[in-house]
Amino acid sequence: MPKGYFGEYLTLAFFAGMMLLLVAGTLGLNKLVSPKVHRDEKYLTYECGVDPVGGGWSQTQIRYYLFGLLFVVFDVEAVFLFPWAVVFDKLGTAAFVEMVIFIGILALGLAYAWRKKVLEWL
């Protein structure tokens, strides 16, 4: 075994070369001896053994968008709760009442969506 600073790297290079040779050898052997039968089915997408139907692009149910919109809007309004919660103990009851009103107005929006039958899955 060669010694010295670059010697260590020579060892590394030897092992790397061996590794590449091994991989290339096995894969090449596989290519060489394996039987080759070309059929159309082989080029299809694998879907749990079931024949794929239709294209790769699919449409989502359009009625789902209402849930998506409602979720995003209410989710984002929660942003105002975090800074309020951080300084809550310094602000006292007035801030608490104000936040209750804020959430009350949000709840009114939710009640509106509920009454308009947006929340039901038709």
Binding site: I62, Y65, L69, V72, V73, V76, E77, V79, F80, P83
Partner: protein, 101 residues
């Protein structure tokens, strides 16, 4: 952190947004481009607040308001786009133009 980097990033985002608004014909992609422009403003506000060592945190608060209002606005916008899709089966801005001059 040099302020120039931030400005380059936010101006880049803003320009990409402007390009998207002008070049894209799909209404949904236009909405996404506008969102990029809003986020450019958000980056500016947050970073300027950090660099200015402002004790009032007005920049951060401004960013929060932009985020929430943008969500509400895009909610309304998407609803309009879907309404148009239902009536016209298209979301291309060029095709949605019955009225001229």
């Amino acid at each position: 952190m040099p302020v120039a980097w931030v400005l380059i990033l936010s101006s880049f985002l803003f320009s990409v947004g402007i390009y998207g608004v002008l070049a894209r014909r799909n209404a949904v992609l236009v909405l996404m481009s506008i969102e990029l422009m809003l986020n450019a403003a958000n980056i500016n506000f947050v970073v300027f607040n950090l660099l200015l060592h402002s004790i009032s945190y007005i920049g951060q608060v401004f960013a929060l308001f932009i985020i929430t209002i943008a969500a509400a606005e895009l909610g309304v916008g998407l609803a309009i786009v879907i309404l148009i899709f239902r009536n016209r089966s298209t979301v291309s801005i060029d095709e949605v133009s019955l009225m001229k001059w």
